[in-house]
Symmetry: D2
Subunit: 346 residues, 4 copies
C-alpha cells in the first residue's frame, strides 16, 4: 500500500500516523521528493481501511498494491482448486463429477422447476447428452411481486426425485437464510447475482461444508466477486465455484453483456473454478450456443445452461432456454471445442 502525503504536512500528525501504522505491524518506507512525499507500507495491508487513510488531513491519496483478498488469491494457493460432486441414483449407482484443474462441468436444466414430468424429462435428456449436474430454480428471484415465485420447497423435492432417477447432483438457488433447511440435501447451493453482496448470507454459507456457486452481480467488479468469495472462504468453506453471467451496460440487444475477459483474469487472480452462464447473460436462446463455445475457448471450467423441453410454455425465462435437442448438439460441440482448446493449450 502506498500513501501519498500532501506537500505541507504537520510533523506531529505524521508521527501519529506512523505510530498507528507500525502498531498494525506494518513497515514504513519513506520516499521524499521535492513536491511529494510517499510512504510505502510493507506487511499485511488487507485489513487496513483505505478510506480511513484517505480521510486524514495529511494524506493526498492512497493506492493499494496488494489484492485485498487472501484465501481466494492464487498467490497464496498456486494450484487450481478442484471441487468434487458425489451423488447416487436410486439403483445404487454412484457418480462423481469434478470441476477445476482441467475438469470441466456442464450444469444444465430448466430455469424453474415446474412439474414432476417437466424436471424428470429434462433431467433424463441432459443426462443422456452428457451433463454432469442438473440445475433448476425452486426459489425464484422475480422483479415483480405479482410474478410466479417458484415451486419453492416442493421444487427442491422434485429436483431430489430427478437426482434419484438420473444420479445427477443438483444445483439450486437460495434466496434467504431462512430457506437454509431446505438445502440440506442439495449438492451445490447457488447464490444469485442479486445476492452476491448479501454479506449475512455469505457469512452463514461460509460455515457450512458444501459447494457454493457464486454468481457475479451484474454491476460487480471482478475484485468484488473475489471479495464475496473471500467471505465464504473466511468462514472455512473453500468449495466456491465462481460464475460470470454478464454485466449491465448501455447495450439493449442483450439482457446483459457477457464479460468473457473475466475468465482469464479470474484464473490469473484466483485458484477457484469459474463457470459461465450464457443463458442469463444474453437472455436469448439463439445466442447461447456461440457464447457457450466462446466461454470454453476463453478457458471457462464449466457452463450453466438453461434447457427446457417446451420453451414456449416455460413459466419463466423461456426465451433464453434451448431445447434438449439443441443442448444435445451443443454438448457434443462443447466436447469438440474442449479438445481444440486442450490442443491449443498443450
Amino acid at each position: 500500500m502506498i500513501i501519498i502525503l500532501k506537500p505541507e504536512i504537520d510533523q506531529q500528525e505524521l508521527e501519529n500516523l506512523m505510530t498507528w501504522l507500525r502498531n498494525m505491524g506494518l513497515e514504513i518506507h519513506m520516499s521524499e521528493g521535492a513536491n511529494t512525499t510517499i510512504m510505502g507500507l510493507v506487511g499485511d495491508t488487507s485489513t487496513v481501511d483505505i478510506n480511513l487513510l484517505r480521510a486524514l488531513d495529511c494524506v493526498a491519496d492512497v493506492k493499494r498494491i496488494q489484492e485485498p483478498f487472501k484465501k481466494a488469491n492464487r498467490k497464496f494457493h498456486p494450484q487450481d482448486s478442484v471441487i468434487t460432486l458425489s451423488s447416487s441414483d436410486d439403483k445404487g449407482n454412484s457418480f462423481e463429477a469434478k470441476i477445476g484443474g482441467g475438469h470441466f462441468m456442464t450444469i444444465a436444466g430448466p430455469c424453474s422447476v415446474e412439474s414432476p414430468e417437466q424436471i424428470s424429462a429434462i433431467a433424463a435428456a441432459v443426462k443422456s447428452s452428457g451433463a454432469q449436474a442438473l440445475r433448476g430454480g425452486a426459489f425464484k428471484p422475480r422483479t415483480s411481486p405479482y410474478a410466479f415465485q417458484g415451486m419453492q420447497a416442493e421444487g427442491i423435492e422434485l429436483l431430489q426425485e430427478a437426482r434419484k432417477a438420473t444420479g445427477l447432483p443438483i444445483v439450486t438457488e437460495i434466496m434467504d437464510l431462512n430457506q437454509l433447511d431446505y438445502f440440506d440435501d442439495v449438492d451445490v447451493i447457488q447464490v444469485g447475482a442479486r445476492n452476491m453482496q448479501n454479506f449475512v448470507l455469505l457469512r452463514e454459507l461460509g460455515k457450512i461444508r458444501k459447494p457454493i456457486l457464486l454468481k457475479r452481480g451484474f454491476a460487480a467488479t471482478i475484485e468484488e466477486l473475489l471479495m464475496s468469495a473471500e467471505y465464504l472462504m473466511a468462514g472455512g468453506n473453500e468449495q466456491v465455484i465462481l460464475c460470470e453471467r454478464g454485466v449491465r451496460t448501455f447495450e439493449p440487444l442483450t439482457r446483459n453483456t457477457l464479460d468473457l475477459s473475466a475468465i482469464p483474469i479470474i484464473k490469473e487472480l484466483s485458484h477457484l473454478p469459474v463457470v459461465v452462464d450464457p443463458s442469463h447473460a444474453t437472455g436469448v436462446a439463439r445466442y447461447v450456443r456461440p457464447m457457450s463455445l466462446a466461454a470454453v475457448a476463453a478457458g471457462a471450467d464449466g457452463l450453466l445452461i438453461e434447457v427446457h423441453n417446451s420453451p414456449k410454455t416455460a413459466l419463466c425465462d423461456g426465451q433464453q432456454s434451448i431445447t434438449p435437442e439443441e443442448f444435445d448438439r451443443l454438448a457434443k460441440d462443447i466436447d469438440a471445442m474442449r479438445i481444440a482448446i486442450g490442443q491449443c493449450n498443450s
Copy 2:
C-alpha cells in the same frame, strides 16, 4: 401491451395464444399490415409475463405500454404520499417530522455508530442545526470480511439513547431478516442498495407497518426501484421513501455517479417521496454540499447526509462525511435553497 407477430404465422398457434390471452381477462385488438400483424392487449397486463410471450414461435417482439407497477404508480394515486415520523425525548416532548407533499426532511448522522459519546455528540449537533431525523449504521455491509462490521445490536441501542436525548427519530439499515427483532423500536428501516432486490426481505418488510427507506441499487433502473417499492406495498406497507444514491458508471473520480434526473422522473411516475444521499454517491466530503443543493433544486423531498464529529478517525467512510460545522452551514443553505425552489415552483 403490444405483441408484434411474425410474418408467417400458424393459424392454430395464433388461436391458442388469443384464447390464452382472453382467459387472462385481456381484450385483443388486431392490426394487420402487409408485413406485420400487431396485437394490442387492453386490460391489466401487469401480471403478464413478457418473456413468456417473447418465447412463442409466432411472436417477433412484445412491447409494454403500461408500467408494471401499480401501488407505487402515480396514475392510480395522483396525490403525493406524505409519511410522518413521530418520536419523543426523555423529557416527554413529542416531535413530528413529515416527508412528501411539500414537506422536506433532512436525515443526518454518522456512517457508523461508534460509541455513546460519538453518536450523542453528533445527534445533538445535527438536531441543533435543524435535522429532522438521525441516521447511523449499526449493521454495516462491508465488502471485506475482515473489515469492521458495525456495532450491531449495541449500535441500535445507542441510537435509541440518542433519540431519548434529542427526540430525533432514528433511521438505520437492516441487512437480513434475522435482524428484524432489533428493529422493533427503530423509526425508519433502511434497505441498502445491495438489498434493493432482496425480494424475501422486501416481502417481509411489506408486512410490517413502519416507514422503509429503500435505496436504489447502484445498477438498478428507476423502474426496478419502483418494482421493489411495489414488493413492499403489495404487502400493505405504503410508507415507502425512495432514495437515489448514485449509479455505477465508468467515471473513476466519484464512487458512483449521482443520477439527479431520477428525481423528476420518480416524482412523475410515482407518488412516493424521494430523498438523495450525496455522501455515498460521491464518496467525497467536499462534493456533498454542491450535490445537496443540486438535489434540492431538482425537487428532492429530503436528504440523507453523513456527518461525523471527527471524520479523520471515523471507523468507516470518513472520507465522505462532513463535520457538524459544515453541516450547520449546509442546513442553513438548504433552507435558503428550498425557499428559492419554492419561489421557482410557486
Copy 3:
C-alpha cells in the same frame, strides 16, 4: 508518478530504466521493502508514456500522482478563467457577455436552424427573456444518413442575421475541419460530444483565437474531457468552455444520465468555465427545468438550453425543446436560483 517494481529484478534492466528516466529530467526516489521496491519520480511526468513503462519486464505497475494536463489545470492557474463574448446589433449597439469567475451565461436557441422566421422569432424571444447568447445547429450530426443534416452554411447565415437583429453572440457546432471557413464570423465554435476526441480538429481549433465550447463525450471521463481541452490550449487557444451533457448508462428513461457531480470536480481540477446542457442530456423537455436549476445549484457557470417556438414540428429533437414561454419562466427562476446559490456561497 510511482513505479512499482517486480520482486525479482534484473539489475542491468533497472539501471537502463533509471538512466532513461533521468534523461527525461526526472529525479528518482527509491523505497525498498521486503517484497516490493517502489520508485518515486519527481519532475514533469506529463510527457511520460505510462503504458510504455507498464510494458517493461521489471515493472509491476505504474501509478500517476499528478494530472496529465497542465494548461487546463487549476494548480498552475488558480484563478477562474473568464471568457468574454462581444457582439453588436445592426443598430450599432454593442453587447458583452462573460462566463466564468462568477459570471453566468445562458445560451438558448433551437436544436436546428430551420428558417429565417423560426430563428429570428426564437432569438428575439430568448433575448427578451435574458439569454446572453444564441445557439442553433447548422451542421447537424445525425445517426442516420437519411435524416435531415441541417441547413449547413445557410443556417450559419441565418444565425448571423439573428445576431444582427438582437445583438446576441452566436454559438454553433463544427463537424469537420473542412467547414472551418464558415465559422469565421461565429462567436463560439461548439465541438460536439462525438468529436470530443477528434484530435485533428482539436489541434486546428487550438490555433485559432476564438472561444470553443467543448462538449464531454457521452462515454468520456472527466480527465479525458480535460485532456481534450488541453489539446486546444496546447495550441495557444485558452478560451475553452467545457460542457457536461450526460453520460451513457443502463438507465433507459433518459437519453443519457446527467453527471452533475462533474461540475464541482471540474471546478476543482480546472480553472475553465463549465456549462450544462440539460436538453440533450435528458432528451425530455419536461426535465429541462429541474435539471437546469440543479445545475445552477451544483455551481455551473452557464446553461445551454434548447428552445423552440413550435416543438411539435421541429425538424429534429423537438421532444427535448421547451417553448419560449417555458424558457421565460425558467430564465427568471435561474436568476432566483443564482441569488440563492450566491447567498449560499457568500
Copy 4:
C-alpha cells in the same frame, strides 16, 4: 413503426398527423382500445424522424419495429458479404485474401509504425505465421497532445515498403479527411472507435471504392455501429468490415469490456463481416490469446492483433502487444479453433 396515442386526443390533430404520414407513403392501421389507441405504420419507415413524432401533443410513445438501417441489413441481403483484398509483392507475386462468407482473415502488426526495421521485421514474421494482412498505425489518436502522434505520412510509406517485401495488404487508420490523399495506396482504411460517428468522414469514405474497417465506438450500441456502416454504404461503398473492440464499463481490470455477444447479433442483423480486436479491448497482452480464441468460437470472421518485436520499447501501447513468437503459436491455434468451430457448425 407503432405510434401509441394519448387517451384524449384532438380529432383535428389526429387527422393532420394521418395526412402527414400518408404523404410519406405509409399505410396506417388503427387499433382502438378502451384506454389506448395504437397506430401501426406500414411501409418504409427508415426515414421517419421518431423524435419528431414523440414531440407531438397527441402521441404518448413511438416504437420502432423495423431496423433503421437498410443496406447493412441482412433482411435485404441474406447472403454474407465477402470482401477481397488483392496485393502483390515486388517480385510480381499476386496475393488475394478474403473475409466473410466463411473466409477468415487475421490482420496483425504493431500498434504504431516506428521504423523501417521494425515494420519490415514484424511484417515478415506475421506473414510467415500466416497473417493475411498487415496493420500498423501511422496517424495515431492520442489522448494527450504531448504524446507521440505517429510517423504519419512517413509511416504509410513504410507500410507500403513492407507490403512490397511481403505482399501483405495493409490496413491503417485515417483520423481526418484532410489525410485522405495519403491513403490512395492503402488497401483497407480503418476508421477508429473515436471516429465511428464522425459523419462527415463516413460520408466521404462512402464515396470511395475501397474496403473500410469500421471500429465500434467504445460507448456505441450495435445498432449505432450498423447505422455508421449505413453511412458508408449509402454512398455506394459496400466494402465494410465491422470491428468489435470493447465497450466501456465500470470494470477496471481491462481497458474495455470485450462484447463477444455482439458477434452473433451482428451476423444475425447484417451481412457484413465482423472482426474482433482483442488487443485494444483488453489492453493486456496476456489476455489477447484467450480472447482471440473466444472470438473465433463466437463466430468472428477475423481478428486484428497487435504484434511487436520488442514490446518493452514500443512507442505506444506496448503493454497490449504480443511477440512474434506468441503470435506464431496463436495463429496455429486459431487455425485449430477454426477447424473445431467449423466442425461444430457443420
